[in-house]
Amino acid sequence: MRLPLTITFLLIVSSINAQNTITGTITDPSGTPIQGANVYLDGTYDGSSSDEKGVFSFTSAEEGPQTLIISFLSFETYSLLGEVSEMKNLNVVLKEDINSLGSVILNAGTLSTGDNSKASVLTPLDIVTTAGADGDYIGALKTLPGTSNVSEDGRLFVRGGDANETNIYIDGQRVFQPFTATTNNIPARGRFSSFLFKGTNFSTGGYSAEYGDALSSVLLLNTIDEPNQEKTEFQFINVGIGAGNTQKWKKNSLSVNAFYVNLKPYQNIVEQRVNWIKPFQSLSGEAVYRHKFDNGLLKVYGGLSYTDFELIQEDINVADGVRFGLKNRNLYLNATYRGSLGNDWDITTGSSFANDHDNINVINTNILDDENNFHFKLKLRKRFSNRFKLNLGVEQFLNTFSEKAQNPDSDAFETSYDNNSSAIFSEANIFFSKKFAMQVGIRGTYNSLLDYTKISPRTSLAYKTSSKSQISLAYGDFYQSPLQEVLKYNTTLEPEKSSHYIINYLYQDKGKTLRAEGYYKSYNKLVKFDTDFPEFASLYTNNGDGYATGLDLFWRDSKSIKNFDYWVSYSYLNTKRDYRNYPDKATPNFAAEHNLSLVTKYWINDWKSLLSTTYNFGSGRPYNDPNESVFQNQKTRTFNALNFSWAYLISPQKILYFSVSNVLGFDNVFNYQYSDTPNVNGEFARRAIRPTADRFFILGFFWTISDNKTDNQLDNL
């Protein structure tokens, strides 16, 4: 009898003994009470939720030092170590979690796509279902503001910069030849198949110190981390066929795909303005292997492609035209590792390698080009807190180029160079509050070929003006080495320089986005030469300069009309530059003053069809008429194109796709070529540079085979 009594007694004693009441009030930084926060002593059952006045109160049998935890959605978890008996009438202010939705975003200059980005303007699906993009991953980006419509080139022309001023990265590693090899007036396409990517950051200015050697823009493509499922895919298109397969096992996955394009059958049916001797054909293969480690992810990408074509290009100075043939072989390898080192340190490292070989025949000259590029990057990130993160990185670029030109009339000409550069960068991300954030970075580059060292500061600020809107600013200095076409003849030049000043306004509300960005960009040290094209004997200087200023507008509404989604981009551009062989400052041919894109997508459920249209408008492009006394003061007629595409889902895994560009057949002119010598009347004759065909048709069938029968290739179209 005595024993149970003792126990009872003991139990009673212990429960009487320890009744500490823990009380307090919880508010957000503005003093508003927080209701429903979880308050408890760590490792015990003792706790409660705060009431509508932010007040909490609970009792605990615990004694001595304990940790009080307060957690709530979208706020940083608060912890307090102290004597339980002293935890009374606490006043706790929770800090907003700056990682949560609704925080300010450092986005000046950047247009993002993807699920995860808070400032996304497009989803990955948009990228590929945009009419006129024709399955080119980069095509849809040309409907975004800040880009100029230069459809005879196919590459990205950003804010008065030419296409060489944009660099492309895959998983943080540089891509050296992102576009298919081509020649004048035949548009290039992105080399990479769209199914590899999950998100894109397209920066039209003011980008991070992590990226260098680009005056205008960087395009960052991220590959998917883990494919959803095993599948086999087939593509049958009127211009080619393709197949792909994805396998997953344990912590690994492997995707392979191959594509063959041959434009001959198409060109036999649809009349072309170009005289093709050997129509364009290409064969490409890609493979991606991914392995998940406990604390990281390894991705290895490899792509190999062959391109071959030959044609006779019209030329005002050569009656029979200029015969041009090209064979290109391109190999690209990219390996990256991303992981955690513990203690809030993250590592991202990788390298990429490219070998590009061209065999070009122009009239009777044979040119052999061989270029190797290597990029290594190591980046460490330390997270001191959610509010302060620091990036540190080093980069190394190695580049070798050699060219051998030969024709029957003269000696062979050979040239080569090694262009290596090293860079270090550091960048800090500081969130002063959920409303106000800043990024400050600096980049130092040393180039061994041209023997220069340059320091570029980069900074951006963002401030949230309301729950739906924010304003951001960015500034940065950017350097870029002269192009290969110049470096092969001259290696004493300095890098070209630009500075960006950007102000951005962003408004986002339930499926609606308005983005307005104004900018000023100055150019200095632009390369000039005294001949029509860079030549061995040309005189080269860094005396060029220029500017670009403008306004980019973007509006998207995917909510107001059911199943209907549209966006409008408008870019105003005012730019002049003195570069290459310009006699003085002028607006280049690629820079139209006004560019407008209207993209619409309509999902018709009864037809299981996605209809999309894209309308592009560009004001007249400047060209030079030697009959006029002022350089480059003429303008072409305006550019118009209405593109249409129709994706019909026969079943969840079978898609029939049809698209036609420039449905209305606008007769567009990009530029004029004038003869070198005047005719008998003393006038220079000209010919218009026009698209190779007014319209382009695609008819395709896309078939996916997978166990779960849901996945399809709509996101690859």
Binding site: N38, Y45, K608, D707
Partner: protein, 207 residues
């Protein structure tokens, strides 16, 4: 001897006490949930989870209440926050119980919630994940009634979208009913056994 007995008894008493507070806590949390005090229920499940250390169940239920709550609210910011939190809870649950069909089913529900809330953004990317998770769950437990029932509902939704007959999946619901009846009582207290009351609702498409 006496002392040893006393100490032993005390020890047992203390252990039983802990067991009791787990039981009481879980019971209380379910009560709160039943009384529509979802946030209080989540908070309590979370507190139990943190105190219990290596038990996946309170995390699992905390995630479930968050997911279920998103079906009743409209605010995008709140939905995203809740689903992120639910994912965190499920990740915790997974560290204590690997290859667990119930957790995979809950993860499928989580991705379903994303698709329901914003089909144009998440439809394409998350649908395949939902499908894969149900299949994984069924591989682990071919006769799991929840996997069978909710996978059927998911497929019926897909069939409706494609203009096909959702009735093709009605036999699956019959199977689920059978599995619910057969479902053996798990020895673990509070082991998931919900879902039987949803059969009627899902069966409406079979009429």
């Amino acid at each position: 001897m006496k002392i040893i007995v006393t100490v032993l008894t005390l020890f047992i008493a203390v252990t039983m006490n802990a067991q009791t507070s787990y039981k009481n806590g879980m019971t209380k949390a379910f009560e709160l949930w039943e009384n529509k005090k979802n946030d209080d229920a989540i908070n309590l499940f979370e507190r139990i989870a943190k105190a219990e250390k290596e038990n996946w169940l309170p995390y699992y239920y905390a995630a479930q209440v968050h997911i279920v709550t998103t079906f009743m609210i409209k605010d995008a910011q709140e939905i995203e926050s809740r689903l992120t939190k639910a994912q965190d809870f499920l990740n915790e649950a997974k560290t204590f119980s690997k290859e667990n069909a119930e957790i995979l089913i809950m993860e499928a529900m989580l991705y379903t919630a994303y698709v329901v809330y914003n089909p144009s953004v998440y439809g394409a990317t998350h649908s395949a994940k939902v499908e894969a998770l149900y299949q994984q769950a069924k591989t682990l437990e071919p006769e799991n009634p929840r996997a069978t029932l909710y996978h059927a509902e998911w497929k019926m939704g897909g069939a409706k979208f494609w203009g096909k007959d959702p009735k093709a999946f009605c036999p699956e619901i019959e199977k689920a009913i059978l599995y619910f009846e057969k479902e053996s009582k798990n020895d673990t207290p509070f082991y998931p056994k919900w879902g039987a009351d949803q059969v009627k609702r899902i069966q409406q498409s079979c009429k």
